[in-house]
Amino acid sequence: MNQVGRDIPRLEVRAKVTGRADYTHNLRLPGMLYGKVFRATVPHGRIRSIDTQAARELPGVYRVVTGEDIRKLIPEPYYGPAFHDQPILALDKVRYVGEPVAAVLAGDPHVAELAVQLILAEYDELPAVYDEVAAMQPDTLVHDVLRPAGTFADLKHLQGRKGTNVALDYHLRRGDADKAFAAADRVIEHTFKTQQCLHLPFEPHVAIAEPGDDRLTIYTSNQTPSFVRIEIARLFGWPENHVRVKVPYLGGGYGSKVYVKLEALVAALAMLVRRPVKIALTMEEQFYMITKHPTTFRIKSGVDKEGRLVARSCAVYWNGGAYADIGPRVTQKSGFTAAGPYDIDNVSIDSYALYTNRTPAGALRGFGVPQLVWAYESHTDLIARELGVDPVEFRRKNLLRDGRPQASGTVLQDAAIGEVLDALAVRIGWNKPFDRGSGTLRRGRGIAIGFKASISPTTSVAVVNVSADGSVYLYKSTVDMGQGSDTAFAQIVGEVLDVKAEDVRVVAPDTDITPYDMGTLGSRSLFHMGTAVRLAAEDARAKLRALATEAGLPQGTNYPPAEIFKKRYGMQAGNVIGTASYVPNYKPPDPQTGLSDNVTPFWMVGGAAAEVEVDTETGHVRILRLVNAADCGKPINPGVARTQLSGAAIMQLGFTMSEAMHLDGGQITNASLADYKIPGIGDIPPMENELVAAEQHSGPFGAKGLGESGTFGVSPAIANAIHDAVGVRITELPITAEAVLRALRVKAGQPLDDE
């Protein structure tokens, strides 16, 4: 029976809905202490003193730990995937409000919480910088020295710099943009901005470290167990195999749980006190952990007389907050596609990762691409309007198609951009008349498409184990956080070995058992790990055949595995282990031109079309229809794939319409779900989700990643629809009702007061 393409429910759903699924939050170890974090109250300052006496003296408190205590254990207690810039607890300086400064350990988490309130810290405050464009000037330096990590192959070129807040700058030069602008019929320029927002998985960050003799076991809600192992081992100067990282199911991740988050802190605390230590963040504390980059994007396009895009320049400023996290990679990888899915001969891209005194920013479902699509698809729509041509026709005319080089120089392959655009236009009825509303309720429609390069080069390793009765295990370090990866991999194994997907036991990540994987991020798992899983299963199949030959069974016959084992070993005994590693080819971009003919093993493509109704008296926007379409190649599990598409779109809808962290003097003023609003069930518009017919020829059974594609088009599709409805352009997210009413009033010549 074919396993690939089957619409089976996710393998773990029953365990989840019956409450049997394991989560790190539920885990308690004997002798475990609870840690609570004391956080900085100033955005930038030198630590003058930390008074922990009252906290230490509170009955029930086991120990209070500061950065200096950790420095005695780990001389260089800095971590991070791109830069080793983040201290486990603040050292010398604090760089954002909410930065961990001390930790209290107690057997009762309530006691630890109370003790945290008894700690007093004094700071010599320093000037702070919050805005990404302002941070381009070296007036206020967040870091005195930059400390590149050199961990990942694609970030090896990072050089330590002084006297700047620029963690990474990526520059792409294709053709001659200046010359093309000079020759263009029209040159059109806009600036777009996005806000700071965050992931908010329903399971906040949580980690437990259990110490041994120069060994640690870490139980954590994390998307990158292999990286955590390597990074914790590096901090302690240990071999990899002294750190064991176990990850059960995640209650969502969305990029918030990549690389090291709480793990270094619990590891250091556990080694200091020689007892297991657990830290579980509250929902509110997530606002001080990791966020999505705010951006400013200046985009300029030149158009010739025929309405063809001849040049585009992009300057993107990424507000990375106080620590780089993976921001430099966001800056570079998204930089490749900042000019959009259009065939433009002359492109200039400048992309800057900046330090500021905010909560750090990292990866969030789309890895920077939603910020870019917001700008380039709003801009593209405005160009079409200025030229007086249909926005969909304008896109079609300029679309990047398979076989043509993308801005980076990499030739587009298996990227169904045109098909996605067509699907959106058909579903929304672009060429058909619709009710434009009347009176104070006006309707409009908008469309937007985007694409993304996959993170590269990255490695995945898989092991397939066939037991003597023919039952099958799969070992992999991909983390199933709700996206359905366990199910998809089981389907791939089942397809190769001719067993039902439901009968494949998928082993949860445990770095003592499951092999290396770069991480569950950037929609990479289905393509990378999926390929490794397919190859490992094929390896197992080949070895089963060899075993059959060894056992003297005639070639070309189809004995069940159980009989092969029995024949070979005389009883139900033995294993067949298939294994495979996969790492795609990659060519790093030229440091001068930013060009490379192989920046990605595959392209993600997604888009959205929206129909909205605007209340012209209040600015309220009602989304009447949202159509999402994406190219995920040939889906392994179409049902799960569609929920990835709709889930991503709903998440981006929140970033589009309501979610924003408000900052006042460096303090987040709405760090709670009461005042930071994610969409509720009442905010979900009628949606249609379409996977266009496509195939990723290099992917496992023609498939590729999809987790982020649904985010790409949502924001600009809605802004474009609002423009279509009422003739105003919103250039900054989120699109609040107030922003829309203010724009309407400016247009009417009756602007609202500021306050």
């Binding site: 309530h110 919480e113 969409p679 009702a737």
Partner: protein, 292 residues
């Protein structure tokens, strides 16, 4: 959350006795939906909570009196009020407000008394019940007193209740043909706290508005009755011009505050618009009811 003492008195009098007028760390808890949020956020750390779940069942009853008044026991859950046949038949604005008040899980737990006594200006029941002319019965160590609901609120999260007083009943008079509506404006998500609430009730006599009660909430420091706006409406036909004047009057009268929902300037525009929409809704709601 810091551990605390929880007591469960079996009578109202016992409960009153367990409260302390001088100690803000001792508080009564009914449904706990608001208090628990404050405790989790660390803004309230009780030494003792006086749980009211076991007091006499009569304080949970919803009953119609002979004179057509609806008496709502303070310990009735919001969903009991929502699904009460008399509420549905006689107080459509209240029913409608409850349908959009938070979510069913909260409504199944939250109590009327808590929703009135909490003093959060964003809550829905205070404005709608104020516009409906409700009064509250309050019991303390010195006995019982009755207060019009509009006089309960003295400031942001502040009421005139002593710390050892409890609301026992909310009494809503018969509409007697009055038209009413409550409009709640949520901006950031459908289930958000309102940025603005406008509640109205009035009589319509010979095409003119009589005895209007206009209440604004959420955008103001406390639930506020808009007496100047009422004067603009008094005796006027509810036409476009009147409603525009009423909107202007409301904007002039209300002290609108900026917060995370939006600027004061924006909320003033909302008030102007929703003043008109609330009156229209009251008229339309009534027409619908006559048809059905």
């Amino acid at each position: 959350m810091i551990p605390f003492e929880m007591v469960e008195p079996s009578s109202l009098q016992e409960a009153v006795g367990m409260l302390d007028p001088q100690d803000p760390a001792i508080r009564p808890v009914a449904g706990g939906t608001a208090l628990m949020l404050m405790m989790k956020a660390g803004v309230f750390a009780p030494s003792r909570l006086v749980c009211l779940h076991r007091i006499e069942p009569r304080y949970s009853r919803i009953a119609l009196t002979g004179s057509g008044e609806l008496q709502i026991g303070a310990m009735a859950t919001l969903s009991e009020v929502e699904h009460d046949a008399n509420v549905a038949a006689r107080l459509p604005a209240l029913k409608r407000a409850l349908r959009r008040l938070s979510n069913p899980r909260v409504r199944n737990v939250a109590r009327v008394g808590g929703a009135l006594a909490h003093g959060d200006p964003h809550m829905d029941l205070p404005p709608v019940l104020t516009a409906l002319g409700a009064r509250v019965t309050i019991v303390g160590p010195k006995g019982e007193r009755v207060l019009p609901l509009e006089r309960l609120y003295s400031g942001y999260y502040e009421t005139v209740l002593e710390k050892n007083e409890l609301i026992t009943t909310a009494t809503v008079p018969s509409l007697n043909g009055r038209k009413s509506a409550y409009m709640k404006v949520t901006l950031r998500s459908a289930d958000d706290w309102p940025a603005l609430g406008v509640a109205v009730s009035f009589k319509l006599q010979n095409g003119a508005i009589r005895d209007p009660v206009i209440v604004v909430s959420a955008a103001t420091e406390k639930v506020t009755r808009m007496t100047s706006t009422e004067k603009v409406l008094q005796g006027a036909a509810p036409d476009d011009a009147t409603l525009a004047r009423a909107g202007d009057a409301a904007v002039a009268e209300a002290s609108i505050l900026a917060d995370a929902h939006g600027s004061a300037a924006y909320k003033r525009e909302l008030l102007r618009v929703y003043m008109r929409r609330a009156v229209r809704q009251a008229l339309a709601d009534d027409a619908q009811r006559v048809q059905s």
